[in-house]
């Protein structure tokens, strides 16, 4: 069973405590060029989580502010894990998708593959590594909530078993009419361990809503499984052809020495 986090966007006040907790816990430096808070907030090699400030219209057409925390969604079947050819990305039993820097080659296929553009690169370094939120995996392993979750003063997050959280989320949006009837992360790319509920449609909050519901690794799985068989069959066919055509040429040469080779 994997752990997850339920994010209730209606409760977030945009204080940014979570982004500070993340930096402190993971020892990430302050990013001089890119903020972790506001409308210019952006994930970078140093910012593993950010809180976007969005001015949107609520259901009555009134302008309101909403605050969206962004980090790796810890997909149930992560594209980044299936993309990495050196096993530098791995999904743990407990849920977090973690990165082993010593295995990384730096090809950046994971970055291209992640449907949410989460992994970032240390472009300014001579020997850059990929970075991203690892859901404080050592804490989660012990059953504790990630650093960002535990510091939130507004009770935005719930940490627990993903399937339990999903049930809870369903109950909340069924009970309270202000919520949009969608749980982001329930089905997106086959499901994510971080799931979101909101009272403003997700596309207005900058969520990528047109993503496939199929797990991304399943797109490549059949290709990969077929490969060895295709390779072997092809080899047999080629060997057969090689001997057949060679013999045929010899026979035709012996039968008729004048034939043009």
């Amino acid at each position: 069973m994997s752990k997850g986090v339920l994010v209730d966007l209606t409760k977030c006040v945009g204080c940014g405590s979570c982004t500070v907790a993340c930096k402190l816990y993971n020892g990430n430096a302050w990013d001089e060029t890119t903020p972790t808070l506001g409308d210019k907030a952006k994930l970078t090699g140093k910012n593993w989580t950010v809180v976007h400030h969005k001015e949107v219209k609520d259901s009555n057409g009134q302008p309101v502010w909403r605050f969206v925390k962004q980090q790796c969604l810890h997909c149930k079947e992560p594209a980044c894990v299936s993309a990495c050819f050196a096993k530098a990305f791995q999904k743990t039993e407990a849920g977090p998708v973690i990165y082993y820097p010593h295995l990384c080659v730096g090809c950046r296929y994971c970055m291209v593959a992640c449907p949410f553009n989460v992994p970032k690169y240390e472009w300014e370094k001579a020997f850059p590594l990929v970075t991203k939120c690892m859901m404080c995996s050592d804490k989660v392993e012990k059953g504790e909530a990630p650093a960002c979750v535990s510091v939130c003063p507004a009770d935005v997050f719930k940490f627990g078993e993903r399937e339990e959280l999903l049930k809870e989320a369903k109950a909340i949006i069924a009970k309270d009419a202000k919520y949009v009837k969608h749980i982001y992360g329930e089905e997106e790319v086959g499901g994510t361990d971080w799931i979101y509920i909101s009272d403003v449609p997700f596309d207005q909050l900058g969520f990528k809503t047109n993503v496939t519901k199929r797990s991304l690794p399943s797109y490549t799985a059949s290709f990969m499984h077929a490969t060895p068989f295709v390779g072997i069959t092809w080899g047999v066919i080629l060997t057969g052809l090689y001997h057949y055509t060679k013999r045929r040429n010899q026979v035709s040469k012996e039968n008729n020495k004048n034939i043009k080779a």
């Binding site: 299936s82 096993k87 080659v105 020997f127 690794p217 390779g231 092809w234 080629l238 090689y242 055509t245």
Partner: protein
């Protein structure tokens, strides 16, 4: 012949063009060293939005596709024993070998932890398509070096020649399996990008398109190469041989076009091609100049002339380059939100790698039996 080779000295003519190529290579090597020491950020315009750029798109994807001529020719000449095409076999394989060495160089440059390049040999991310690409390209390059061993030992290390000659059929067959696998898996890399790559290029069978185009670009590259080599060395491959090859290519392209249209129609995105968008226009250019016009050339009298063959070769090769660049860049712009223009140094390094390839080709052609090898046993 053997005594003739012995008497021959190592030679490398120096012409103004070669001086230029040498200069370009030298500048590129400088840039490469600088990049390896200081990292990617200083030299390239790559960013978190554009983790892959010109080097992956051109040096690797186009490089592998254009070098695909080697396996196609090996298939036709050595497995199907169509001896008719023998005169082109060696030069096609040489281009292919050099192409792959450049691809390996390009890949090596592009990876951030280049001293860690050997990791996937021990840490098997076997569910990754890139894992397959990595293994197949490494093995195939080795096989090609060994295949070249048969040619090289005609001149150096002659005592090993018979061993290489015996091993050749096995090498040839292995040397066809690997490219078939990795040409298609290079396309399959993009299966994961279903929500990122524009639907005109993303396809559940994108691997098939990559494989087929790498096959039909082979004869096109041979046309370009033999024309250039013909001019430089006054060694002309008879037109009928090339024309037959071009026809094989033509049939493959017709098939490609049909599958493409069926695939687009099935996914309901054929209309996008005529929607007048930025992507649509590039897509149409790719299809019209890279596929449709060349098919017409292949099956009309125009391909009965040197200029016709050369035009065919250029159009198809550029078409395939455009296709790969469309996949890596054009088709990704919309989902990325920002555009990407490679830096000057990215261009210099790419051009420099090509220059090194051309120089190596010239050197090898002038010193080994590549263009003329009529006494080469037909039984091989």
């Amino acid at each position: 012949m053997a005594s003739h080779a012995q008497a021959q000295k190592w030679s490398f003519r120096i012409t103004p063009i070669r001086v230029l190529l040498l200069l370009l290579s030298a500048v590129a090597i400088g840039a490469i060293i600088f990049r390896l020491v200081t990292g990617l950020g200083t030299v390239t315009n790559l960013s978190d939005e554009w983790p892959w750029g010109l080097w992956i798109g051109f040096d690797v994807l186009c490089g592998v596709a254009l070098a695909g001529g080697g396996y196609g020719t090996a298939l036709i000449v050595h497995v199907l024993h169509k001896d008719y095409f023998h005169p082109i076999a060696r030069s096609a394989m040489l281009t292919s070998l050099l192409g792959y060495l450049l691809v390996m160089a390009g890949l090596f440059l592009d990876i951030g932890q280049w001293f860690n390049f050997w990791r996937p040999f021990v840490s098997w991310g076997h569910h990754s398509v890139l894992f397959e690409v990595f293994w197949c390209v490494s093995c195939y390059t080795t096989v090609q070096v060994l295949e070249f061993g048969e040619i090289a030992t005609e001149r150096v290390g002659k005592q090993f020649h018979s061993i290489f000659k015996k091993a050749l059929p096995v090498l040839m067959i292995v040397g066809i399996i690997f490219p078939t696998l990795h040409q298609s898996s290079l396309g399959a890399l993009y299966l994961l990008m279903v929500d990122k790559l524009y639907p005109l290029w993303w396809s559940p069978i994108i691997f098939l398109f990559f494989l087929m185009s790498s096959f039909f670009v082979g004869p096109a590259m041979i046309c370009v190469e033999t024309t250039l080599a013909g001019k430089a060395y006054d060694h002309w491959i008879p037109i009928p041989i090339l024309r037959k090859l071009v026809r094989i290519s033509g049939y493959a392209m017709i098939l490609y076009l049909i599958i493409k249209i069926v695939d687009l129609t099935n996914r309901g995105v054929l209309g996008l091609a005529f929607s007048g968008t930025f992507e649509a226009n590039w897509f149409l250019i790719e299809m019209i100049f890279g596929i449709i016009i060349p098919i017409v050339i292949a099956f009309t009298g125009f391909s009965n002339s040197r200029s016709g063959l050369f035009t065919f070769g250029l159009l198809v090769s550029c078409g395939v380059v455009l296709n790969r660049m469309n996949v890596v860049v054009t088709g990704m712009i919309r989902s990325t939100g920002v555009s990407y223009v490679p830096s000057l140094w990215e261009f210099v390094v790419s051009a420099g790698l090509v220059a090194m390839g051309v120089l190596a080709y010239c050197f090898i052609v002038e010193n080994f039996k590549i263009l003329e090898h009529d006494n080469h046993s037909h039984a091989a």
